[in-house]
Symmetry: C2
Subunit: 309 residues, 2 copies
């Protein structure tokens, strides 16, 4: 891969670690930080790039997004026909499986309640629940959703999945499309959001859809904050239809001070940490894909701009 | 199964639910609560029975223990040759898998720390850890240990297992016997105790063995309180070699007020709830086994009194 040029930009300003990593993995290439007026490159590796970068970098063979979600990228004007490739796993799906299983188990087994009681010096007893009464619904059956569904199913919960187009996942009752959303929700008590953020999925966790869910459940959002209509979720929890929520993502991050999610007794919040991009795995994946593209081969994770993910 | 007589006794005094359940599942049998002087029965179903019951109930064909651990029973004088049968799963292994995975993930991913930070209004960042640095060691590879090992392995942690006699479990590096205990510990950072309690395993989580573990790990005890030398565990945590512990079982239960485990900042305690005996599953299993024994067939879960489990 001599003579290749790769340009890197991340809104997280972490180029001090990424550029040496990419350079080491692509010894024959030139890897440089994008700045206005930078030389034209063959490939771009980006996280939340500015419009100017896309406008200037004409002639890219492909653009790699260093995350699973490309919603920020889809807000920009992209050169027509430019292949946009997102990470299809790179160590994120196991993290998602961990985070979601932890939240599901913690809620189902009332481990938060037990720990709370014990902190008060109380050796308490709670009636065991039947897992058959706690079907878990996964919104989104991409690479991450499928891995999470299988991880949850391993603990013998009934698992439902919903996706835009029909899918089949072993051990998962699959629903698809707008027409089956209400049935999917009515069959689920714990709801996990792992959808891509698109105009169709924005605000999908709203009052109407929450009302379809079996009562007494738990909402886990590990996708994007904008999937949830915050006021609707708060109303469903405060009204008692939903028992609680575990939220890792928010419409504005960091979560603004004073937001009602902070310190809500039935809501657990974490700082967008459910699945972190692991640099070494991501770089290895990007380098493999650059090699495949240079040989004219197809690669996984190519974004369909029309559907938005 | 007409003419069979089944006698029930539990120190938990839950006969109001068990006896009707057993009676419904054994319609031709007579199911009664054991009291001093009760009629002789064919089978006994017990939890922590008094010595007097065993002394009086001569001629039992088998005795069923309504729990996985028979350590309380092994303290009693049992009639020679009486088959003692413990629950071999009955819905407990999935609960153990849940409880242990929750504790492993919570510690590895520092979710307790994140929740603590968020409760203080802090949107924090912690460097992701590599799961390769957190091998999980399972002490005990019985029905519960094997299920837990496989559940943990699903999250891509390296998993080690240790048992008294040699075992082979797919995806688990297996060690056995006293000679390999130190090597097992040295290869593990998170330690899960799922051993039966016997004279050989009492106090196995002691200063010597904790010192062999990789430093910065976490101890999860879901077996019996007497597996842990409390003072040694506290010293290992307070000295920094062990990062923390999740304890569900204690030498005295309920955990006595004033015990240093209460409110220790690095120890999470729960009230012996990691795997509860599920009545309906247990009754179904006992009834199947009574049927098999009546037909002269072998049943799983028979206790070897010499080894103590």
């Amino acid at each position: 891969m001599t003579s290749l040029r790769v340009v890197y930009y991340s809104a997280d300003q972490d180029e001090d670690r990424w550029i040496p990593g990419l350079q080491a993995a692509l010894p024959g290439a030139e890897v440089l930080l994008w700045e206005p007026g930078a030389s034209l490159a063959d490939y771009a590796v980006v996280w939340k790039p500015p419009q100017q970068m896309l406008d200037e970098q004409i002639g890219l063979k492909a653009l790699f997004n260093t995350g699973a979600g490309v919603d920020a990228l889809m807000q920009l004007r992209l050169p027509p026909g430019l292949p946009v490739i997102r990470l299809d796993d790179a160590g994120m799906s196991v993290q998602m499986a961990e985070y979601v299983c932890h939240a599901v188990i913690r809620h189902f087994r009332e481990l938060d309640g037990y720990e709370h009681d014990m902190a008060l010096g109380k050796w308490s007893f709670r009636k065991p629940r039947s897992r058959l009464d706690y079907p878990v619904g996964i919104l989104g059956l991409g690479v991450l959703g499928e891995r999470v569904a299988k991880a949850v199913a391993q603990f013998d919960f009934p698992v439902n999945g919903w996706s835009r187009s029909p899918k089949a996942v072993e051990g998962v009752q699959c629903f698809h499309g707008d027409a089956q959303l209400a049935d999917f929700l009515a069959a689920s008590r714990i709801l996990v959001c792992l959808l891509p953020l698109t105009p169709e999925t924005e605000g999908i966790v709203n009052a109407t859809n929450l009302a379809h869910l079996r009562s007494g459940g738990h909402i886990i959002n590990v996708a994007r904050g904008a999937h949830v209509v915050d006021a609707d979720l708060l109303a469903a929890i405060d009204g008692g239809h939903v028992a609680g929520a575990t939220l890792d993502v928010f419409r504005v991050e960091p979560l603004p001070q004073g937001h009602p999610y902070w310190n809500h007794p039935k809501i657990t919040v974490t700082p967008h940490t459910s699945a972190r991009t692991l640099r070494s795995e991501s770089i290895a994946q990007i380098v493999l894909k650059i090699g495949a593209l240079e040989r004219g081969e197809a690669v996984a994770g190519r974004v369909d701009a029309a559907r938005g993910y």
